[in-house]
Each structure stands twice: as structure tokens, then as C-alpha cells.
Symmetry: C2
Subunit: 447 residues, 2 copies
Amino acid sequence: MAQKPSVPKGTRDFLPQTMLRRNHIFNTIKSVFVKFGYAPIETPAMEKTETLLGKYGEEGDRLIFKIMPRGRKQTKLMESGDLKMVEEALRYDLTVPFARFVVQHQNDLNFPFKRYQIQNVWRADQPQNGRYREFFQCDADVVGSDSLLFEVEFVQIYDEALSTLGLDDFTIKINNRKILSGIAEITGISDQLIDMTVAIDKLDKIGEEGVVKELTERNIPADAIEKIRPLFHFGQDNQENLNKIQTMLEGSEIGQKGVEELRFILDQIEVLGLRQAKLELDVTLARGLNYYTGAIFEVKANNLNIGSICGGGRYDDLTGIFGLKGMSGVGISFGADRIYDVMNELDLFPKLSQDATQIMFVNFGEAEQNFCLKKIKELRDAGVNAEIYPSNAKMKKQMKYADDKGIPMVALIGSQEMTDNVAKIKYLETGEQEDLSWDELLKRLKG
Amino acid sequence: MAQKPSVPKGTRDFLPQTMLRRNHIFNTIKSVFVKFGYAPIETPAMEKTETLLGKYGEEGDRLIFKIMPRGRKQTKLMESGDLKMVEEALRYDLTVPFARFVVQHQNDLNFPFKRYQIQNVWRADQPQNGRYREFFQCDADVVGSDSLLFEVEFVQIYDEALSTLGLDDFTIKINNRKILSGIAEITGISDQLIDMTVAIDKLDKIGEEGVVKELTERNIPADAIEKIRPLFHFGQDNQENLNKIQTMLEGSEIGQKGVEELRFILDQIEVLGLRQAKLELDVTLARGLNYYTGAIFEVKANNLNIGSICGGGRYDDLTGIFGLKGMSGVGISFGADRIYDVMNELDLFPKLSQDATQIMFVNFGEAEQNFCLKKIKELRDAGVNAEIYPSNAKMKKQMKYADDKGIPMVALIGSQEMTDNVAKIKYLETGEQEDLSWDELLKRLKG
């Protein structure tokens, strides 16, 4: 093979530096999920085509990666062109496989079932900046309960995970689909609910006049638009906004239900407090996914030109597509790639990883090597990440290895140090050196 | 969809209990890899077909899952039957993608490059007990150095990882391909090396007479077989066996090189010691993979009817297939599914996971719920995994939820406990109850 090998379009290799950062994100989110009682599951990369097809719209079906049949089925496919021969496909998201999982294992699960799932998904989209054909989703959902405590919990989870990662200026936007239904109801356009939500959801991007134009183009009557218009002038105070929308939705039962649900969540969060997040009621927030039926969430990092970094909401009938009715659920998703970009932009990644080498021993030759191997064993037994350069190479080469690998400290143990039984340490960032006893070195490395 | 949904043949869902156990295995192995200076990488699930095909033999090519082309290429494939239209396939192991990775990123890597990789692979094998179409591989390799310190290190890694997981009776078998080449050389059958190794590798399974029969069937001359026969009568003492084989291989340069390499590794391990592993020189150990050129490893759990749980070895030219010559490497692999079976069999999984809910608060109604939510927040802020049952359901139902989820402790906070400001705790395993102050409870949960 003459030319340099490469990966398929839209896919990525992750080198150690990137992996450590990604793991930092995933591990932080994971530990927060666990803290709130969510348990991990995994589903296979491949699902049956019948599980996936028809769940993501026509466009989605086209973007699903399908697996070539083998043997006789492959021959049959080639002869007949009958795509029914294609029986397996790669998962397109984690939500449909999760719904399938809940239905399949319903007798073995503990309801309300709180699960998290961090796995890759595949979409045959045209790759572009920040859009890949293989990427990770990071979801937590609970099914089998309509308790609003879970909505409260998810607001806390967003706050705790992102605050722990070091973000200090982000907004959790919240709305409720029932509010949107109520608005459509009292303005007399219930049959145009989707047209209305699609348009007002764009307020951030195209401004009030843009939305009005789009509503008009979508044949929303002028008098309805005038009733909707006040929504675009809501202020910053959640309670005040909630009171406004409550008044506006008088006479709509579903609208009042939405207000009541939002009030519960806002009141609880008021009492419990948040670390860094601002919680903002945004009555124009709609989000694309039509299976949401209650609360909807979206999280944005403020002052950065990066789209939403998290999303979520309540759906009343996720498992219905697989024949299990009446399972209300609510779930959230962290956009790991975008969170990575935000943290990179804000320089929030820790300089040193817990999961990397803490000290490298320079190799001065056989006798020193044998001495160092024993010392390294003692350090490792005490939980320190340590390595020795594998040969008696030139000092410069050995130091470059440590430096390139981001190892903060090297030990220089020559015959003098062996005789004196001290550890000569060099810190790579400053170039400073010092002699430590082996006990002091261990303390330094463990502290 | 009337019938219950299911996963494709040979694939698995992992429920929380299994996930926690699998994560326990992976996290333990990972932390040992890191302790020895190995850094994580990941490669895409899909590779270009040209990267994979021809690397695993004809049988391997057949078992690779290939991806259906889309759009015009799909039409072309259907019309022409030309499989060159199939440009992507799922990885079949981690070794070939790693070789591709090293060649592709050679200018960005720090050599010797020590990496670990834990990802799933796919093989369209006929599924059977313990064999799946999607399974995890768990590999560590170093490329760009021929230092035998890495062989020593990998013996230590096997020992530490499996000992930490609780195994206390396992054997690391070691041999060297150069020993096998030496044996073939001095018995005059160098051109039948593979026939010889395939046969003697089966000593464990088919015994001495079985091996002799197979050697004969493979046309190994009778006088060569008689020279090989003493290998089947080696004892338990590594040093003695090494001396025996050294004498036997007098006159074979490559054989003496193999002896020298093994002696270095055995001597180092003798000095450094092992926690639970027995290290055993087995001159009949060959392992199937023909790319090994130096040390070969195999790990077995003793007294259990489960095949080898780990393997590995040195290869002198892994990246040559992608055009980068002269990169010596050595690597090992942990068989996670088999280790899982061993630990299950020996009941080695910890009863309680660090990554699961530690305490559940029973929900007695609105006032108690609001009180508990604040207490739960305090516990979570202190790092405790805690949850509340989401509604005021019957006590029996709430307790069943905690029990099914394996939560060890519930808090019963009614109006009396609120007044007294105490935490009434019930331990689910014993049924015992006690009243604790909130500080005591936190100490209990953190200790």
C-alpha cells in the first residue's frame, strides 16, 4: 500500500491528548448521573432494520448506515435488488434503541427506570465543521413515571455537570409543550400548532419581524399573530413571565396545566438553588422533536457562538412505537462535541490528567535501570502512575519523550543518587531540580 | 409492531447489573494500564474496506461486516454486483486499526508509543455459547522499541490487573517464537515450522501421543519428532527448563537469542516479584497468530474449564502492511467476556458498586418530600449517590424499588423525624433500623 492510510469520511481517530479531555467530560457527566440514581446500560451498535426504519422520518431513513447481508442473502440482494434482504443497521440515536430496550426487557426492569447511556451513533450526513458521521451521545432518561421531580432533577443535573466542568456562564432554558398547545388553542390555530412552533422557535435567530413574516407565510391569520406577538417581549423575571402567560392562557385547560407544571419546577429550583446555571423560562422555545409532550429543555453557553450544548424534554409515549403504551418518560442529552469546543475555547481543561503518567525515570544503563525498576514498583504499588524510558538513549531524547507526553516530573537516578539513596527530581515546566528522599517523593506524588 | 422487538443475532443488550460488573473489569484494567504509562486512543467503528481486507486471511475477509453504500454507489452496486462499491466496513479487531493509526499519525506520536484501547469489534461468526458478533477487546501495545523491559512490564500488568480483580490462582505462560524457530532449525525442519508449532501447541488438549500423531500426519520426519519429544517432559522449574532448552538449542543462533530474551524476562520478574500470578515457561506454547516474532504470552485461570483469558506477544513488523517498516512492537489483550465468566464463577464481583445509588429516601407526601429534597441535595453535594422515590406510592412498592435496584439503605423521614431532625435509616439486607443524626448519616455514607 503506497499511499498513507486514512479513515472513512466523517469519522475520527482520537489521540491520547484528546481522549483524556473527552474522558474528563464523560467521566464528570457520568458521576453526576450516578449521583442522581441513574444506572448505565448499553445496546448493540447494530439494530434490526425494522427497529430503526420509519422512526426518524424519510430523511432519517436515508441517513441510516445499513449493513451488507452476507452469503446467500447477499446473492439474493444482488440478484433482486430487494432491500428487505438488509436486516441490520447501525443505530442512529440512543432514544429509539432505548425504547426498544425498555419494551424488550420490561419484565426485568425496575420502574421508574432511570438509565444513562453514553455510546456512539452513526449518521450518513454530509460531514462539515463540527458534524461527523460517527459521534457520541450522552443521554439520561427515566421512564415509567410522570413525577415532575424528574424535571427538577434534570435541571440540577445540567447545573451540576456543567458547573463541575468549570462552566460559569450558561443558561438552562425551559418551556412546556402544553404552553405551546395552549397558545395555539387560545389564538384559534390548534390545527397549525407545528407551523406556529417552528416559526416562533426561531426568535433567537431571525428576530421578531422574521418570525412574524414566517408565521404569515405559514398562513397563520393576522389576528392570531397579533395575539402571539406579546410573547416576544417577555422580560427576565421567570415568575413575572409565568404570571403573564397564565393570564394569557386563561380558558385553555392544557395551557393552565403547562403553567402549573412549570411553576412546580421553578419553585422547587428556587428553593434548592443552582451552582452556576441561570434557569430561564422561554415561552418561544419549542425544539424540533415532535415526540415531546411536556417540559422542554435547552442549554446554551452564554457569550459563545456555539449552538445549544444540551437538550431534553418529556415524552408521554416513547415506547408506544414498540407496543408498550402509557409509559411517560423524560430525558436529557449532553452534546459532548460541543461541550468539548466550549471548554477548549474557554481553556477549561485541567492541565494535568489524573489518568496520565506522573513521573518518568531517566534510564542511565543497566545498573541504574535495575535499581529504578524496584523503585518504580514501589511507587506503582502505592498508586502512582510511573514509567521508565525503555533504553539508555541520549538524555535529550529521553527528556523529549517526557516532554512530548506531558509528563510533569522526571527522576534522574545515577550512581551518585543510588549511593546517597535520594531521588533527584526535575520539574519539566520550570526546569527546577531538587533532591528528595523516596518518602518525600511519594508524598509529593500522592498529594 | 405486534411482536416484541429484539436485537440482531449474536448481539447483546447490557442491563445495569451487568454494566456495573463490566465497568468494574474495564476500569480496573484501565487504571493498571495508566499506572504503567499507557495512554488511551480510539479509532472509528468503520474503517475503509481496503484497510481491513486481506489482513485476516480469507475466512476473516468473509466475516467482516461491510457497510451498504448509499445513493448512486448503491445503485451501481445493485446494477453491477461490483463489491468494490463497498467502501466501509466495521473493524474486526483493534490491531489492524492500531497499525493504520500509527502509520497515519506517525508525525504526531511520541515513540515508543504506549497506547491502550478498549473498544468493541464485530465478526459475522456463527454465534454460540460465549461467542458474539459484537464484543469488546481490551488491548495495550507499545510500538517503536525493541526493549525487553516492555515484556517485563506486560507480565507485571497481567499480574496486577487480575490480582486486583480478585483472581488468586492463574498462570502466565510465556514462550518465545525464536525458541520455536530454534527447535525447527536444530531438528532440521525449518521449512515445516508452522506445521510443527500448530501441532505442539495442542499438547494441553490432545496430550503427547496426540501431538506425535499430528506431527507424523503433517509429515514431520520420525527422527525430528524424537528430538522434539523431550519438550513434552519439562518440569515446573523455569530456570531448569531454560537451561535444558538452552542445551538443546546449542548451535542455533536464533534459538540462543530466544533463550537470552526469556532469561532476561524471567530474571527481572524473579527480582520484582508478582502478586498472585505464577509465571511459567512453556516451550510448547505457540499461539495462532503468525505475526508474532518474539515473546508470546497466554494467561489461564487455573482449575476452571475456561480457555485462555489473556494473550499477547511481540511482533517485529506490524505497521509494514501500511508501508512503515522497522517498527517493533509488543502487545497484550485481556479477554473481558472470559474474565467476566471467571469472576462470576468464583463470585469475585463486589456486592456493592461505587457507581450505584447508596441511599433512597422514601416519599411520604408533599411536606416530607420537600424536606427530603433539601437533605438529598446536601448529601449529593458531599458526594453521596442518593435518590428519592418520585411519588407518594405505597410503602411496599417503594421498598421493592429500592430492593430491586440493590440500594443498601433507605431513609424513612416522616413528620416525627422532621420534628426531631433525625434520619431514620433502614438497612435492606438485615431489615435493621436506627436513628442517626444527619452528620452521622453522612459519615456512615462516606466511610
